[in-house]
């Protein structure tokens, strides 16, 4: 069975900017593959190249074994695309939008009507089926846009920032829907700048920065280098913004930091005896209210690999209006 997506040396330049700079990757059949990077990293350009909305300056793309650089339209019946903005027709109802999209893929009348009803049910939109798409909430719009992307039962689904700009409950519901589609065997190519989302959903992840893939691996393997690394977080009720006197000297093997007032973090390459630190702090009159081990996260891997502070990604998220 051929890989679902094969990209080799894919490059796209806009004026003076290398939007995508010679990237290569493979996505296996039925895999949920994450494409993670900050805004402007080249995620959407890559999706446009893969789906035929843009032509690569160099490189090749195969979708389901079909060479898309030679036959860009031939593979389009294999794919479904959910863009980063809901781009259905506001004047049409949810049901009409779905049947229209079904017709674009050549589904016969009865088949597209049945499929539209089935999807409206599955996506919790049956009651809003007759309402105009323009009157839907953001979360409903995203759900219907995903439904429209799979109306023709594509083998490969491209999801571009599916949960950006929607509320927490809708985002959670969407993640469940994505996981269900994946379980049903659909190959999913997911771009996101939400690290936790990629970690939670994806089997393999590529980090893309400034048009280049800097790391590509399974979530498990990406986290591997951090498995022998320990970090604890201690929160005090009356702590100061600085490091308490003598703490570093008392624990010379630990690296301490104060990320914010009242919070102390310690890192080491061996298990950390939290009780000893707490005792020292209390001897200095600091009242500890919480002490816990921080599990290694993909966010840390991302920061280590890309050098990009995740604060910047968070700010992007906030600007996008997204909730987790």
């Amino acid at each position: 069975m051929p890989d679902a997506i094969v990209a080799e040396g894919l490059a796209k330049r806009f004026e003076e900017v290398d939007a995508v700079a010679g990237i290569s990757f493979r996505v296996r059949q039925g895999e949920l593959f994450g494409f993670l990077g900050p805004n402007g990293a080249g995620k959407s350009t890559t999706i446009n190249l893969l789906t035929g909305l843009a032509r690569p300056d160099a490189g090749s793309i195969r979708l389901g074994g079909i060479d898309c650089t030679q036959r860009p339209r031939a593979a389009q019946h294999l794919i479904g695309v959910v863009p980063d903005e809901s781009n259905l027709y506001p004047e049409l109802s949810g049901y009409e939008n779905l049947t229209f999209c079904g017709a674009l893929y050549g589904l016969a009348k009865r088949e597209r009507e049945t499929r539209a009803r089935e999807l409206l049910d599955a996506f919790g939109l049956a009651e809003a089926a007759a309402r105009k798409f323009g009157g839907y909430s953001k979360g409903m719009k995203r759900r219907l846009t995903i439904a429209a992307g799979i109306i023709h039962r594509p083998e490969i689904l491209f999801l571009d920032e599916p949960t950006t700009g929607i509320d927490v409950a809708s985002a959670r519901q969407l993640r469940q829907l994505i996981a269900e589609l994946h379980r049903a065997g659909t190959t999913i190519f997911l771009t996101t700048h939400y690290i936790e989302e990629a970690e939670r959903l994806c089997e393999r992840i590529a980090f893309i920065v400034a048009g280049r893939i800097v790391q590509i691996d399974s979530v498990e393997h990406l986290l591997q280098p951090l498995q022998g690394w320990y970090r604890v977080r201690i929160v005090s009720a009356n702590g100061t913004s600085g490091l308490p006197d003598g703490l570093a000297e008392a624990f010379p093997t630990l690296a301490f930091s104060c990320p914010e007032p009242g919070v102390l973090e310690a890192e080491a390459g061996e298990p950390i005896r939290v009780g000893a630190i707490v005792r020292v702090l209390e001897e200095r009159g600091i009242e500890v209210v919480e002490a816990r081990r921080l599990r290694p996260s993909l966010e840390e891997v991302f920061v280590r690999v890309t050098g990009i502070a995740t604060d910047a990604m968070r700010q992007e998220r906030e600007r996008a209006g997204g909730g987790r």
Binding site: G52, N87, L88, Y89, A103, Y105, G106, A148
Partner: protein, 252 residues
């Protein structure tokens, strides 16, 4: 053979759905129906009131039909194409597994039908005022359809060349208003200053208006078949040019 039939069946469904969606979403909306009726009505009423008699109405009809088609079609393309591209819903169509040629024909068919309907307004009004039994209806209908096709593809060419709806309208006016005077709609091209006459023969509507004049009152300067042939060539040329632009600008 069976594969080709299935493929064409799928394309046919896609074509019909796009056309039907555009008709419902744009062309059959009350504002557009009223625009499609009021604009030709206003022009026709104004010209007929100022006309000097039955012969005048006959000579005005080709120009009024042409102008109604031109403004009706070019105005709509800015919405059905530029607006959808701006709102990114056009991407959904570009992602569908149908040939670009078929997609653009589906997107423009509504405008062609709208243009033909616009042309009916002055004809119906004229039918109440003068005897139109001498009109060569076959040539007239063919010319109306071809003018609608060429005007639509002219609108498509403009709609694809710009990014904003207002730019499409502005750029369209650069073509539309000069054509009212240059294309022999209301007076013969031969009456234009000599310097402007070559320009008039470069414009497709000149041939459309000439064919209509021939069909209505025999006042054509070129054989009607030649007029229609040239209109066809313009139609094909503008359509192909628009496709090149779409590939260059939108699927680059």
């Amino acid at each position: 053979m069976t594969g080709a039939v299935i493929r064409w069946g799928r394309w046919g469904r896609a074509f019909w759905s796009i056309l039907r969606k555009d008709m419902r979403t744009y062309y059959l909306k009350p504002p557009n129906i009223s625009w499609g009726l009021l604009f030709p009505l206003a022009w026709t009423g104004m010209f007929f009131i100022r006309s000097g008699g039955v012969d005048d109405i006959r000579s005005l009809l080709p120009g009024l039909a042409t102008i109604s088609i031109l403004f009706g079609t070019t105005s709509m393309l800015a919405i059905t194409v530029t607006f959808e591209k701006k709102g990114r819903s056009f991407e959904r169509l570009l992602l569908a597994p149908i040939p670009l040629e078929l997609l653009m024909l589906a997107k423009t068919s509504g405008a062609i039908l709208f243009g033909v309907a616009n042309a009916c307004v002055p004809v119906i009004l004229a039918a109440f005022l003068v005897d139109l039994s001498t009109v060569a209806w076959g040539s007239f209908a063919t010319a109306v359809v071809l003018i609608a096709v060429v005007s639509t593809f002219l609108g498509l060419f403009v709609a694809v060349a710009v990014s904003e709806v207002f730019e499409a309208q502005t750029l369209s006016n650069f073509f539309r208003f000069p054509m009212i005077f240059l294309c022999g709609l209301f007076f013969p091209v031969g009456d234009l200053p000599l310097l402007l006459q070559p320009l008039a023969w470069l414009l497709p509507l000149t041939y459309g208006a000439d064919a209509l004049h021939g069909a209505v009152h025999g006042g054509n300067g070129l054989p009607i078949a030649l007029d229609l042939g040239i209109l066809c060539a313009y139609g094909v040329g503008l359509f192909l040019l628009s496709l090149v632009n779409i590939r260059r600008r939108w699927i680059a």
